[in-house]
Symmetry: D2
Subunit: 167 residues, 4 copies
């Protein structure tokens, strides 16, 4: 049941998400590099600093953190073989028709930055840039089924934020 | 990494989801009752049988099952106090600004049946009908943060299916 | 073709939308009343002033204005019998399975305020409150197929903004 | 006001949409080529026939047609300079931060085929393939602000349909 007195733990959420990113070798600047690459052809005077600021802003949004946390926890349980079947196999094998990873990322993260962000996300999700390529091809037994989409969605959202600011 | 040879386990997913529903006292007919109640004023000759068939159809859709499974697993881990903080508290307290439960339900279940389904879902999510009211007010220590939205979304999707068939 | 030098006319958009609302007898305060009614049971110390500010904020968001303008123009062309068939009849008759009115409203307006807003929208769209009821039942030959959803979506978005601020 | 006796004109909608596509030099087979190109690397034994059938199926879905019709009508009014300002300029210049074209396409067309379709759409929208490239660069004074996204969304939806059938 809903507890109306519960104070939302935004700071703890931010720490949880960014600590996990770091543990996977992903820093805010890696995400900013992706965003910079997709936006600089549209905005010639774009600076890396502006992009870094946009990424940090996106990473402080409550709905972004909520969806990122859920995806991270599912990756972790899958890596530890703790999910019930058939979900364990579906997430472990990163099945292309699962779709929940893309939903949390697109619907829960980039989607709240509007439709440019959704389009950016779709592009990044197929054309893995920078750190995304590395995450997608790790062979160390870790599970990044949700993580790659979360990172792509944060980069996509930051890109949309910048596009709107320059329009 | 993605394994292209993985065969998607749709039957096991269906069994996982409907077994969990049953364990919570929710049968397909309970969902059909909700759908029947929201659609019968628009379609005077609507039969309960047609509604039941629509609910069963929705429950066989792969994307519906995938999203339902993820929500169920999160409710289960929260009930067993196995989630890391702050996610454990957020889901256990069913915070109204979490939003991931509504995303899996609306975006992942009702949304693929079009915008009538989204509207139906929003209505049902606020005006808890039938079994939904019961789930929302259990005080037995179980966690139904995701379950109530999943049930509402399946009922909403079945309603949209019927509305389109009668248009 | 895209013209990269085009400056986005946000002020003209705001004027276009709010002038149209006024011409239909809808002021920002009417929207705020709807929002106030759906949020005050959750937030006992909510003031009408805070709600009015949230509505005004939502009405200044570019993506909100873009979607509102498109819906308004379609209502206007339908009222003037200028749309080609079968779209003219579909919009004029406000068919329940059209869905584009709910898409612009939910996907384009409330959706960018997260999933609470989507749920609020679905509820308001069925349970017409205040000015929404009036718009839905006008018999003066005007077409409000898109307008009622746009107003509901703005009210829903403002409600979500307030819920997040108080969480 | 809603007229409950209105019979939905699906056949007329299909004819309206496909006639417009033809007038712009876009046939179902051109869309199928795009879909074939994005799916064949995942499904080695994919035939062009299967893809053509999927495109035709998508083009018969009511919600797809509704959204396509609205986008087409807006392109037509913009080409004829009949939209009120500032919407006329925004659509005529195909502003990158408008977003309503991507919403109708992603939310209203590809979105109802699940999240794979959304991802496909985002990719196609950036990497214009085949007929999409041609539409995006016409200099004959016609407006294709909505059309390119509609075509991309239909191709993306057909791709998702095929991916699910082969999983
Ligand atoms: Ca993934
Ligand atoms: Ca819930
Ligand atoms: Ca309407
Ligand atoms: Ca476009």
């Amino acid at each position: 049941m809903n507890d109306p007195k519960f104070k939302f733990p935004d700071k703890a959420s931010y720490k949880f998400v960014t600590d996990y990113f770091s543990s996977k070798g992903v820093e805010a600047d890696d995400i900013a590099s992706i965003t910079y690459n997709i936006q600089r052809s549209y905005i010639p005077d774009l600076t890396l600093e502006e992009v870094q600021k946009a990424v940090i802003d996106v990473l402080h949004k409550r709905e972004v953190l909520n969806n990122a946390m859920v995806g991270i926890v599912l990756d972790q349980f899958a890596a530890d073989h703790q999910l019930p079947e058939p979900l364990q196999s579906i997430i472990e094998k990163d099945s292309g028709v699962f779709g929940v990873d893309e939903l949390l990322a697109e619907g829960g993260i980039s989607g709240i930055y509007g439709k440019i962000a959704t389009t950016n996300f779709g592009y990044l999700d197929k054309e893995k840039h920078g750190i995304l390529k590395k995450l997608d091809t790790t062979t160390d037994g870790s599970v990044n089924t949700f993580l790659d989409d979360i990172i792509a969605a944060v980069a996509a959202a930051a890109g949309a934020k910048i596009a709107h600011a320059h329009a």
